[in-house]
């Protein structure tokens, strides 16, 4: 696992919607192998960083850990097909508006809408799977997906959490 704290920027040109990750605000950047046993530790590390940026306690203990855990799990198991040779990248940027987390994998991407199921229906509630994307989208203010323009064209899931004063933005 490589931990590169960055305060400078790097070229970033995410295509797609929403609030782009501001490279100048990059607070954390990690490259990790595909190994679900690492997820707990990564989530702990990121949650500690989020706490240091003065986000409310419940966002640090529930929203960020669960949403990030889901994104990492999907990246490793679906995007990277649980292949330990493939990597997952995690980037976090924070500013006055809020927090942006990006989790990328080496997969071909997926359609967020069609892959999100409602796990609260009578049939789906008894299923063991199908709650990950639902929880991500309920716990974060925005969830987006894009494919990087430049090679190696990684699949990126971006999670945005606004500071509560600017949640309408």
């Amino acid at each position: 696992m490589r931990n590169r704290r960055r305060t400078g920027g790097q070229p970033s040109d995410p295509s797609g919607a929403g609030v782009p990750l501001d490279p100048a605000r990059l607070a954390l950047e990690l490259e990790i192998p595909t190994d679900v046993r690492l997820i707990g530790r990564i989530v702990q590390m990121v949650s500690r960083e989020v706490r240091d940026f003065d986000f409310p306690p419940h966002l640090c203990s529930l929203n960020v850990p669960v949403a990030l855990s889901e994104a990492l799990s999907n990246a490793m198991l679906r995007g990277n097909a649980d292949d330990p040779a493939k990597t997952v990248h995690v980037r976090m940027a924070v500013d006055d508006r809020g927090l942006v987390l990006e989790v990328s994998d080496e997969g071909r991407g997926f359609d967020l809408e069609s892959c999100t199921r409602d796990p609260t229906t009578a049939d789906n509630m008894l299923r063991e799977d199908g709650r990950g994307l639902f929880l991500m989208r309920r716990l974060m203010d925005r969830v987006e997906r894009y494919t990087e323009d430049k090679a190696p064209r990684r699949n990126v899931v971006r999670l945005t959490l606004f500071r509560r004063e600017s949640a309408a933005g």
């Binding site: 690492l38 997820i39 707990g40 850990p65 799990s73 299923r127 063991e128 990950g132 929880l135």
Partner: protein
Amino acid sequence: MSFTMTKHGAVVVVDVEGQLIVGNRQELKQKVLDELEKGERKFLIDFGRTGYIDSSGLGVLVSLSKKIREQGGELRLANLNDDLKTLFELTKLDTLFQIADSRERGLESF
């Protein structure tokens, strides 16, 4: 992250310490199924020392609940903090499980 099992009368109490997530949910599942195989039928999972649960963790609880019920047993949960209660409410799993405020209440409910 660890799972500790103790017996309280006829109830197997499982303490989940740390997180219940994709990396360790199989371990919980296997431990409970092993006890079910040995003939245990009443299970109480105590989340008093649990940090967070992801969708895989929730899924394994649903799966265990089904398997235990199929064997004529019961699975109940206890000691969810506010964050965990929110998770169960969001996913409506609070309507699927019997959830007690404390271990004692959970044990009494059987």
